[in-house]
């Protein structure tokens, strides 16, 4: 339609090339061009990429393993790297040393910083052996100390390094979200696709079903399913069961959207043309309908991601989700469940910051993608 309009308008060579490029661009190129103009969404995407990267190679970025207990380092407060102390400044960053001392008032053993002791930070140091990505055996860590211990985010009540645990938790939390979203998506695609394509009686039944699932409050429902996990299940089994639960309760919203979109596309001329040419149902859905709203689906996936993340965190927080020794953001936050715990060790609340940043990033990314994928917004 628009191209015919163009042929009547006289255009300079340069303009028409630009216009040619615009009109011949594929849908994804168009989305990409629009997306490049959205700074906020790009920032979100960047943060998520960094989180995913760091999580994927957590063992390398970690100075310690997730369950390694550092002796004499119970509830150490975060050690902030610095370049200067009373003795002067150096190019090599260092952290103050940690000593155990008995509190005169409470008679509890406490760990305090000793600024006079300086522990140099070295890069690419040899440390605990680990398997990168599960199969490359290595023992080099990004940073570490030659003596003493470094706890950038402090330690928990068992003397485990919070920074190391947090990076491992990032991997678990993000991956559980991804797997959950994918399973929910497949379910939604099948069920929503059937409802939207066939319409009529099938549609009505499926609609009622999704309505019933949606009317029950989500977290109490998750809790009921999670409570049913046998206590003797291994942490891997619980992990996969969790992704299944997240997906099971997450599909109705996605299915509704897919159905709505399919219903509106079903009446399009090219679909009727395909049907008249004798194409079967699966071919019409797969070849004609799905590509037409692929971009919507991707946006919906990104938008539904933070729900999974938040649900997992909430469930693990109350002890019905993932269980130690698996670490996720929610599992880490279990240590900060009471005010007393936070009062004693405020740094145990740091994982909450990661949750908020990740969800915010997903939200702005989702919003940016949605705007970019909207074909009716040609103006920018």
């Amino acid at each position: 339609m628009t191209t015919t309009d163009l042929s009547h308008t006289p255009l300079s060579q340069e303009e028409s090339e630009e216009a040619q490029r615009y009109f011949s661009a594929s849908q994804f190129q168009l989305i990409w061009w629009r997306f490049r103009k959205r700074r906020l969404a790009q920032t979100g995407a960047l943060i998520l990429l960094v989180l995913a990267f760091v999580g994927l190679f957590a063992e390398f970025f970690n100075p310690y393993g997730g369950t390694t207990r550092i002796s004499d380092a119970i509830l150490v407060s975060p050690q902030i790297p610095r370049f200067c102390n009373d003795a002067g400044c150096t190019l090599r960053p260092f952290v103050p040393g940690v000593v155990s001392k008995r509190n005169e008032e409470t008679l509890r053993m406490e760990t305090v910083m000793d600024p006079s002791v300086r522990r140099d930070i070295y890069f690419f140091v040899k440390g605990e052996p680990y398997k990168l990505l599960g199969f490359i055996e290595m023992d080099t860590h990004l940073f570490g100390l030659k003596e003493g211990a470094i706890n950038l985010f402090g330690t928990d009540s068992m003397g485990r390094d919070l920074f190391s645990r947090l990076l491992l938790a990032t991997r678990t939390s993000l991956s559980i979200g991804i797997v959950g979203v994918i399973i929910a998506f497949v379910l939604a695609l099948i069920i929503g696709g059937i409802a939207g394509y066939f319409g009529g009686w099938t549609d009505y039944a499926i609609q009622r079903l999704t309505e019933i699932v949606r009317v029950v409050p989500v977290i109490p429902l998750y809790m009921g399913l999670a409570a049913a996990f046998p206590k003797e299940w291994s942490s891997t089994q619980v992990y996969f069961a969790m992704t299944l639960i997240l997906a099971l309760v997450g599909w109705p919203t996605l299915a509704r959207r897919i159905r709505g979109k399919l219903l509106s596309l079903r009446g399009e001329d090219y679909v009727i043309a395909a049907r008249l040419s004798g194409a079967g149902s699966s071919r019409i859905i797969g070849r004609h309908l799905l590509p037409a709203f692929m971009s919507y689906i991707i946006v919906d996936l990104v938008i539904s991601f933070p729900y999974m993340l938040l649900s997992e965190t909430a469930l693990s927080f109350i002890g019905l989700g993932l269980r130690p020794p698996t670490v996720s953001w929610g599992v880490l936050l279990q240590d900060a469940q009471t005010v007393r715990a936070i009062e004693q060790a405020p740094w145990l609340f740091i994982p909450a910051l990661f949750v908020v940043v990740a969800v915010l990033s997903f939200t702005v990314l989702g919003d940016g993608l949605r705007d970019a994928a909207d074909p009716y917004q040609v103006s920018d």
Binding site: F317, A336, V339, V355
Partner: protein, 331 residues
């Protein structure tokens, strides 16, 4: 209107029927059965030996040897006909006893949260729409993002921490220690009311953020309608025309999502209640899930869902009264 009411009531009953089946399935999910858990509770620590015959006896007593559909029918008909939710074995009393008072506390929390949500979101959302693209508008957008990204239970922890560190008071619980076990009186009610404020604000956090955006968006749409332009041309004062045309319509989507808000609030309730130490149904639900006290859990899940379905029903009726266009579609 009568036809509309009957239709909606029937819809509500059908929905609750399917929900009850779902709840029953969840109750049946945990491994082991009620008899084993009951026997374990009763005899653990007494040194008594439990044989398979004993277990079978208990099963027969509770009717657990019957097929699932029959048990479901017995469970649901007891609830519907006698209002009897079964037995809470962890408490060694009936579910009704355990839940009783907590229903009212839960309703009190729900309504105070809804009130806080609407008192904030409706006027502020309208204001943001009128002052579109102003600094206040952007600040509210940021708040809306945070309302989603910062879960209520984390907000609760932060507020608790601040109140203890800087004000040296605790905001947890629903009653002051003096009133916790006291009989109901005016003073106790006032005490409850003052303790409801903080939980209500915390629970309203994300619902408010969400409704703000809804009100703002509808208001923006309505501001561009011809009726507003016409009123402006007639010389109607700006505040008057805002209240007369767009504001009235901007409330409709809010009314239509009361059930949705109730769902959101109940969804967040158990975890916030855990952090704040609120003695209501959500917290009890969590506890009974952890104890696998499934009759209590099932009853609570059913009651919470029923409240949501009922709120949906109410919002449909309100909407039909408020917005004449709805009736045309629904017949």
């Amino acid at each position: 209107m009568i036809k509309f009411l009957v239709q909606r009531t029937l819809g509500m009953i059908v929905t609750m029927f399917f929900v009850s089946i779902m709840v029953f399935i969840i109750m049946e999910l945990p491994p082991g059965d009620y008899a084993e858990r009951w026997a374990f509770r009763k005899f653990s620590g007494t040194g008594a030996q439990i044989t398979q015959a004993d277990l079978d006896n208990i099963r027969a007593n509770f009717g657990l040897d019957r097929p699932a559909p029959e048990r479901y029918f017995k469970w649901i008909s007891n609830i519907v006909l006698h209002g009897d939710f079964g037995e809470a074995f962890a408490f060694q009393t009936s579910v009704n006893n355990v839940i009783g008072q907590k229903i009212w506390l839960t309703l009190a929390i729900l309504f105070s949260t809804l009130i806080v949500t609407y008192i904030i979101s409706i006027p502020v959302g309208m204001y943001a729409a009128v002052r579109r693209n102003s600094l206040e508008d952007y600040a509210l957008t940021v708040f809306s993002y945070l309302g989603f990204a910062l879960p209520n239970f984390l907000l609760a922890l932060i507020l608790l921490y601040i109140s203890i560190t800087y004000f040296d008071t605790s905001v947890g619980g629903l009653f002051s220690p003096d009133y916790a076990d006291a009989p109901w009186s005016m003073d106790k009610a006032l005490d409850l009311l003052s303790h409801l404020v903080v939980p209500a604000i915390i629970l309203a956090w994300s619902a408010t953020a969400f409704q703000l955006q809804t009100v703002r968006a509808t208001m923006l749409d309505e501001l561009n309608t011809l009726s507003v332009t016409a009123a402006r041309a007639r010389g109607v004062p700006e505040w008057k025309l805002l209240l007369k045309y767009p504001a009235r319509l901007a409330i409709n989507p809010v009314v239509s999502t009361i059930g949705f808000d109730a769902n959101r609030i109940f969804s967040e309730l158990p975890i916030v209640a855990l952090v704040l130490g609120l003695p209501e149904l959500g917290q009890l639900l969590l506890k009974s899930y952890l104890d696998l006290d499934m009759f209590v859990a099932g009853a609570i899940l059913l009651i919470l869902t029923f409240m949501i379905v009922f709120m949906n029903f109410l919002s449909d009726i309100f909407l039909a009264i408020l917005d004449p266009r709805v009736k045309l579609i629904e017949g």
